[in-house]
Amino acid sequence: MLEKYPAKVARKRQKAIVINDKTASQEIQANVRTVPGIITQRGCTYAGCKGVVLGPTRDIINLTHGPIGCGFYSWLTRRNQTTVQGQTPENQENFMTYCFSTDMQDSNIVFGGEKKLRQSIEEAYALVHPKAIGVFATCPVGLIGDDIHQVSKECTEKFGDCNVFAFSCEGYKGVSQSAGHHIANNQLFKHVIGTREDAPEGKYKINLLGEYNIGGDAFVIEDILAKCGITLIASFSGNSAYNKFAHSHHADLNAIMCHRSINYVAEMMETKYGIPWIKVNFIGAESSAKSLRKIAQYFGDAELIDRVEKVIAEEMIPVEEARKAALPKTEGKSAMLFVGGSRAHHYQDLFTELGMKSIAAGYEFGHRDDYEGREIIPSIKIDADSRNIEELTVTKDEERFRSRLSDEQKAKLEKAGLKFKDYEGLMTDMESETLVIDDLSHYEMEVLIKEYKPDIFCAGIKEKYAVQKMGVPLKQLHSYDYGGPYAGFEGAINFYKDIAKMTSSKIWGLIGAPWEKEKTLSASVVHDTKPVKKEEKESA
């Protein structure tokens, strides 16, 4: 796989490719700079900050400060769903369908863009009077030195009833989207979380972190939690609203879906407010059941435990039916997953339920702990790129800190198997002899497909059609190919059906005309496999 690479590139990429061995502790290179020109899946810090973490909140105006493109491409393209139904009329704002941009021109680059930014914020405020405006910096902003934080602060003071805060999430700030997640986490923590004192009602109060409501996943999870009697205060950030973030510090537990993008908030909330966090996964029926049980175990209330068991038993009936219907079309097949910072791990559970083996996987913007587990965090070397990103110093909020568990209770729970602040990573769950590759390049992807011929490949839109040209169906795990939801029990059923459809589609059998196939069969005709060139290659 590395043969074609220049020596330096080969040396670097080698460290990002691991043949998994469950019996050994292996190190993988992750969260390092991408090789220029290699064709990467990765995006930028701005995309991780504005696009991923802040995008799904309906009542914050997301104002992109920069030239038009960055804002344009992140306009409605991530399928974050939201609903204002059931909200009081004053809470029915939804700005997610809009794209707000300062559309910087060359004069702003030369003379600075602060004036235009201020004017834009004022115009947005005058137009719709939002509760909050988030300002997002794109690449040129950092270079020309616009002080977006100062402008935002002044606007907040001027308006009085609108919180304006800014994100220095210039695309070059990190090696991938991941840096943007961190920046988003920091600013949410600084400017929003804990700004509202009224506590929501509810017996078992949790926040869900790292659930972005792609294709309606959060709706499904919200339903299950409600059925179980668990109160969801805020989701960070899917189907989310500003006010919910603002009083999320009243929760008694933070449940983390996507560890990569949001663990920072969980950590900071624990330090400041005393909210413990656990890792959950609502992708896969079994994993959903497990996650619900974990939450119930945490609260330790027999009533809740019973109710959760009842819900699981009920939900599993149609799940099993759907699974059995799909199995004949999926069992024994293989999948590869290269996507995101948690999905390449989570979705393996669904494939397992379908009797499919995940033979290769990796993240687009994961860190080593997402592969190897959190216990290796102390051994991660902080490089220049990570050092760029602010680490907030968080201390205990003496007034609002509330210890949710006594040391004794915590020890007891841990003994019973409930792990706090724990994520074991993708490699722990994959079988030995499978391949784990970080920041897969396009070239590596083609080699994998040619060598291993998976029955299904999971990645994103940039990979989709190249893979399908090779005769392998590709399931997009960012957008779900506009299907889903895939979370929870209902989502598992959808996924089983969709994968069965893909692995059994007739169209793949129609590639190649009959006369072409005859040609390859007859030994006298040599089938030309070289790229078709319009004319002989231009040479010097």
Binding site: Y5, T34, P36, G37, G69, S101, C139, L143, K469
Partner: protein, 461 residues
């Protein structure tokens, strides 16, 4: 309501853009570069731009869009991106073996002041570009112009950097710069010229690149695209036709400056009159008559419009998109007896207002139109709220207005993320006109069927 915060009172905005009717330069440069055979587009900047541009093009064309990026991090942003680009050249040629790398800049590399010409020269001097391989480059800062400007800049770079110079006796071949249209449109223009027995060089040409067949293999460099030899030979051609001033005139001008090939700016051949003008001009220049088969196509289009005129006449239309498209579409709609009442384009260019005035001034005196900064879809939606329209024509983002206001909508332009077919069926030429009229009629007549009372429901229409 999806756009519930949009109201009818138009307030003057001096800074804020809401729901833009344009995007940024590099994506246009990337699209144009894909129209060169054996070419790898390369985005010189941070990797987010490239990821966004590839995603947007992929969602629109539903085809692989391969492109490299210099993957700037903070260091490159401070010290300049030369090292990243040199490394990228080395890696791209080693791993992906293209014939050409077409580099475009981004906001970031432009703000830093990276000079693509100088870095490329350095790469050549240091032997980083393998023998026989080519690099072309275009400066595409997104804080100037729009995606159309980027397309235009890359087309101009092709002419400027590739065409031969000093050829005095010109060949009978004509050059066609087709503008930012679909692969099917480029194919259609070539078909028309072939039917006229005109030899032509089209650049860029994304047919057989962004509509490649499924073969069981991923052809990294598909069959299509203008070849480097053709680009070189474009300097020998007798004339360049620039279809659409915004997207194509710069390439014509560049070729005139370099190789003394005269050029003519023409409307994008969408609709009857614009296609007439193009074919007549080419016919006159080359002395190749327009064959009966094409004249018959024209006749069929006129026939269809005449037959269905009562469904079209007087219908009010709002359009948004690129200036070249809007001008031709507005002219066509007027020929259909329809009324293009609102037009916005985020792409700047002073000529737009005057050109549009010349087209709609008399026929639709009530028309409102605007281009450049803050000529956005929010403004157009506000106009629609003031006084409604019967039809929307534009890119995918119109579906939100269409649903909120319950107005029929046909998709045209870029991007179209939510339908398939636009890359396979042309809208240029008479055949494209037929398709457009069919789409317009389907939209309007489906609406009539949906809205009619039971007793007014018609079998024959």
């Amino acid at each position: 309501m999806l756009l519930k915060h949009t109201t009818a009172d138009v307030a003057d905005r001096k800074a804020l853009t809401i729901n833009p009717a344009k995007t940024c330069q590099p994506i246009g440069a990337m699209y144009a570069a894909l129209g060169i055979h054996g070419c790898m587009p390369h985005s010189h900047g941070s990797q987010g731009c490239c990821a966004y541009h590839r995603s947007a093009l992929t969602r629109h064309y539903k085809e692989p869009v391969m492109a490299g990026t210099s993957s700037f991090t903070e260091g490159a942003s401070v010290f300049g991106g030369q090292a990243n680009l040199l490394a990228a050249f080395n890696n791209i040629f080693s791993i992906y073996d293209p014939d050409v790398v077409a580099v475009h800049s981004t906001c970031l590399s432009e703000t830093i002041g990276d000079d693509l010409a100088q870095i490329t020269q350095k790469a050549i001097d240091e032997g980083k570009i393998p023998e026989g391989k080519t690099v072309i480059y275009a400066s595409t800062p997104s804080y100037v112009g729009s995606h159309v400007t980027g397309f235009s800049n890359m087309c101009a770079a092709m002419a400027e950097q590739m065409a031969v110079e000093g050829v005095e006796v010109k060949s009978p071949t004509i050059n066609v710069v087709p503008g930012w249209v679909e692969p099917a449109d480029m194919r259609e223009i070539k078909r028309l010229l072939k039917a006229m027995k005109v030899t032509s060089i089209m650049f860029p040409d994304t047919s057989d690149v962004l509509d490649a067949p499924m073969t069981g293999k991923h052809q990294f460099y598909p069959r299509g695209g203008v070849t480097l030899n053709e680009l070189r030979d474009s300097g020998k051609s007798r004339k360049t036709y620039c279809l659409g001033s915004w997207a194509s005139a710069a390439a014509g001008e560049a070729l005139w400056k370099k190789s003394r090939v005269p050029f003519e700016e023409m409307s994008l051949p969408i609709g009857i009159k614009a296609t007439d003008r193009f074919l007549a001009a080419v016919s006159k220049e080359t002395s190749c008559p327009v064959p009966q088969s094409i004249t018959d196509e024209r006749g069929r289009l006129v026939d269809m419009v005449a037959d269905m005129q009562n469904y079209l006449s007087g219908k009010r239309v709002a359009l948004w998109g690129d200036p070249d498209q809007l001008l031709s579409l507005a002219e066509f709609l007027i020929d259909l007896d329809m009324k293009p009442v609102y037009m916005v384009s985020g792409t700047p260019g002073k000529a737009f207002m005057a050109k549009m005035e010349a087209i709609v001034g008399e026929a639709v005196p009530e028309a409102k139109y605007k281009n450049g900064e803050r000529a956005d879809m929010f403004l157009m939606h506000q106009w629609i709220k003031e006084e409604g329209v019967d039809l929307l024509i534009g890119n995918t983002y119109g579906k939100y207005i269409s649903r909120d206001e319950d107005i029929p909508f046909i998709r045209a332009g870029f991007p179209i993320y939510d339908r398939a077919g636009h890359s396979y069926f042309p809208t240029v030429g008479y055949a494209g006109g037929l398709r457009l009229v069919e789409k317009i009629l389907d939209a309007l007549m489906d609406r009539q069927d949906r809205d009619s009372t039971e007793e007014k429901f018609e079998l024959v229409m």
